[in-house]
Amino acid sequence: MTIRLDPNIEAPDDFYQALIDMHRGLDEAQSQLVNAKLILLLANHIGNMQVLREALRLARDETTTWKQN
């Protein structure tokens, strides 16, 4: 199984709003914990180690190689 990178979320705007709303009223430390919990919950739901490794690699690479023009 490989990671899906084509659009797969039914209502992207609804999801994005819900993601931001999840953090409303939280301080930085709480937000960090919430993000961590979200990652752990989603990772367990996915379960497949190959997909998880691809996601981990992509998340890191898209950050370390991203340059501001």
Binding site: L33, A36, L40
Partner: protein
Amino acid sequence: MMETLFQYRTPPEIKSGRRQVPVIVVGAGPVGLCAAIDLGLQGVQTLVLDDDDRLSEGSRAICFAKRTLEILDRLGCGDRALGKGVVWNTGKVFLQDRMLYQFNLLPEIGHKRPAFINLQQFHLEQFLVERLHTLPNVELRWRNRVSAVSQHADGVEVTVETPDGRYVIDCEYLIACDGARSPVRHALGLESKGQVFRDRFLIADVKMRAGFPTERWFWFDPPFHRNQSVLLHRQADDIWRIDFQLGWDANPEEERKPERVMPRIQAMLGPDAKFTLEWVSVYTFQCRRMDRFRHGRVLFAGDAAHQVSPFGARGANSGIQDADNLAWKLKLALDGRAPDTLLDSYDAERRPAADENILHSTRSTDFITPKSGISRAFRDATLQLAEHHAFARSLVNSGRLSTPSTYSISPLNTPDEDAFGARMRPGAPAIDAPLNSRNGNTWLIDQVGGRFDLLYFTGTGAVSETMRNMFESLRRLPVPVETLIISAQGVRADIGRCFEDVDGLFAERYDARSGTAYLLRPDQHVCARWRRLDAASIRKAQARARAAETETEVAT
């Protein structure tokens, strides 16, 4: 008894001069003593040298795992260890002031030995020293300090310092079980390399009558010791072992003073608790190992070869498994029943085992002591989720407790040709199961070991004449194979050494059908298995397990 057991005597070589013994074991800790007893039981004359004349102090290694207890059974010390130790199977994990969850380390029934006992290291050493003294071919010399070691083609020359002066003695093989600082390793100019962890821990042995159950309790960030971890274990004699994480900045000299230690414990146990402090120590730890565990005729075992953090009880347990792996190989090599290259398999099997232990130990340490803000956030997130969600409990790591290694990639294994379940694959240590014989109930683990054993499973109880003749011929091999016939639940076979799989657990655990057979090495690890037996395959597999594959000798 104590006085004679630990008494120094003038070694005869001081007057009589140099001689050679087959094996010298350096270090009379649990690993060296187990190796010496195992060799003695197999008929190898063995000399143990130790620079001290006392048992270890304080609790030190305390958790002895099921596999270690099975090895101790084979060495004749299991019942004493069990009699003195406290049995536990349950662990509990706390975050701040609440319990998150509990776990059972041995969720299966049908095993002779429990997941763990807690027993102070010095008690185990005492039992082993007493056992050793019942063996006529094993000698233990206290206050005999090895000061130099050199190897030549036929043996090892060992220089020993005693209160009566120096002597030189030779051996064919030397086993260095002389601990983390290993003078033998230094004498040979060898290193153990790895990672030092920047953290300090306080261990206290506390005597008290307390209402805590016999369980492993691990706290993250408890109210009585904020931002650190604490581990509580019960031991024999109403002694409780408490490990407080202190952090790297703690001053070890200050922290071990009773006026610092007592308030910490009082805060943990409550203002009314009555206790006395028996022993206290501050430690740091490392995860490291030697590049190779075999250097010619010198073999390194236990902490001398590899070191781990204490979380997971992987130090003494893995060291005793080293001894278990090595003794039978040395015996065969000394007797000329296996080539010297069999000893290379000690390194090939135990080095990956050490790596496995180091990996688990390093991961536990990283979870217990997060190295960055984000590691800490993930750690706390995992713990908070663990209270309600089983998936998060599998991520919590307060120590992955010692389980024996499977030698999956060992050169001594014969790869499966038939289809089998994975659990008892070649390289795995034999798992226990209850059996029944004419003499009553017994355990599989008590019927095997110390020699090559063939487990033959029959669904009908019938064993053909051809099979019987084959089992008889296997018994007459230069390195004999003893057959143990196991009949299916409810069926009786009535020949030879015959046992009934009384609860059907053997068939389940070994994925056994009528005609299935397993070949076990003297250390009870599986080396081959078949759905249908023939004598040539068994002989070939047994030769392979002795690293003697090219052997042409065939007994009839």
